[in-house]
Symmetry: D3
Subunit: 136 residues, 6 copies
């Protein structure tokens, strides 16, 4: 038996699927219109699930406001209203697919969690119909 | 391989985050505006996932209408349109955080399920952006 | 032809349907479980629609961030995480039905809008299935 | 640690809960109004979660467009705008409960996935409040 | 200035777009897969907006529970879990497009409303992306 | 009394709020982070409402599939997966605020509608919480 807490936060960003190590023909045929040169964008939703024990004094696994503050500080403040291929230092050289974003965000957030709180899953929703998760 | 069925039900209640064993300063600093004395409220959504085998005659894991009836009888009828700190006997002495509600609701519903049906997960959504689960 | 802008904001509050000028029997029979003495609660959603001309320099009818700031300052900051029957001075003596909230919020917000911006409609959603609007 | 990708697709179909091996009294008492002879219908949502490794060149676990194409070709094109009890050859003899649909869709889609991609979970949503999953 | 109340209710039904006065070729070419002979189905959502004055004693334009009871009794109880082309007496001879359903439901509900309450708009949502309204 | 039909379609694009006729200080102070030079993006939802009479033979005000085809051909195909400031000829020189997009899309779609069908309203949703409409 274990407790989980999930919070959902949002950010709005542009991205372009592109691997600069490959040529233009490969990029166009692999990524289609997601490879258009100026990029397109999404209202990204970020769903973060943590796992651990409920503190008997506060009744919290983790204060959800504090968890949101951590996610905002570590991830959202850096990517919101940005172009993910050009403006985020720690995404340089990473093709910003939903899968890669989920993995990098997970690796970035995990070590910031308080002791005893495990990052169980981080999901990046590109749209209501498409998402990728990194599962711990 | 296993089958799961999930149903979602709703109730509308008031609650206040407060631990009477601690003093006012601690409560105010731990719970912030969630500690306001009269409480605030939510449209709570309750998501219940059960697991087991599909019955070959009915094609059901469990009749969803029957599962909803059980959840309504065991939980919703007792908490809907109530103040969770004052009016529910089996929540007395429990700080009604989403985590504690998920745990107590799970413990209350689990033993009522028909034989062969396991309660896999119970999630309490306080808002579309905040939830807590108890995982079996 | 005219332009409209709509923003949606949220607050979480407790309320009780009750008219203190009427006796308990009338209140119980009129409001049912919504009359329970401690109150219940909602994740209220507030939808505000304004109307006017698009400014040719900014391309805005009104800056949505500024509109949200006005709604937050005028309404949300005062009712969020509050019990609407007990803690909001300008709701004293008003039975907090969705209809009355829509009307009072409208009257409170309207005069704060910049010149040339008309408050066309203010909707209070108690749940995804119940709402009331005040239409200007 | 593993990556997951989830896509959601929709189809609109009629169905009737009915086991022809059982008599009318049993069917009516087991399925209630879901046993009405002409059937009723749903906007079904199909949520498909696959698991595997992220390809380092494309940054994809699987191209979501390709995954959707597979789900559409294998399942949606055959059931969309159909009556599930009468018009789908591979559902003949199967009572179209959400549980059975999840199981059969899973068995149909799984073998079509590219090597290295595992079908982790397939969920059939009958409504926003009722769903069944088959978990691999 | 006026007050409005909107409630949303749901029903699940099968339908087929078909005009029996026209031949099969016309029906197939006009309605496409919506003309498949057994029909398909939807989770219909019905949104009803009424208009009038707020009663100063109750604070209600109309008791939303009473409005839902009227909609359920007059419409939902008759169409839920039914095939709209075959099982509803008052839909006989009517092609059940969303437009026709909105019009007929409006005409059926309007006269049942209490005095002083006007039916402003009735919307039939076939899916989250398609709806028709009848506006009074 | 009149009938309305509403359809909702989606596109994913990048945009930047910027008026090149004004200097950088004005742009930064007016548009804040929406003025970041590479732009950000949205899952735009486009809601189109048309008005007219129900055709007695088809039961349609307008075939929703045809209406969606018109919206897709006239608008979505040109803006989907594009950067609205750089890649759409008929948006050149227009600051792509939600208000301006609603107005330009309305002017572009209106004349393409079949005779007798009036474009009543076109709404551009930037997020679930922000939208602008052009009302005919």
């Amino acid at each position: 038996m274990s407790a989980q807490v999930t919070v959902k936060v949002f950010f709005e960003a542009a991205h372009r699927l592109h691997n600069p190590a490959m040529d233009d023909v490969w990029n166009a045929s692999t990524f289609g219109k997601c490879n258009n040169s100026y990029g397109h964008g999404h209202n990204y939703a970020l769903e973060v699930t943590v796992e651990g024990d409920i503190d008997p004094v506060s009744g919290f696994l983790i204060d959800m406001k504090e968890l949101k503050r951590l996610v905002n500080e570590t991830i959202v403040a850096e990517v919101d209203h940005r172009h993910l291929n050009h403006e985020v230092r720690w995404l340089e050289g990473i093709n910003p697919t939903a899968e890669n974003l989920a993995r990098v965000f997970y690796q970035r957030l995990g070590p910031k969690l308080p002791q005893g709180i495990r990052l169980a899953k981080l999901t990046v929703h590109e749209t209501d119909r498409n998402s990728a998760s990194w599962v711990g």
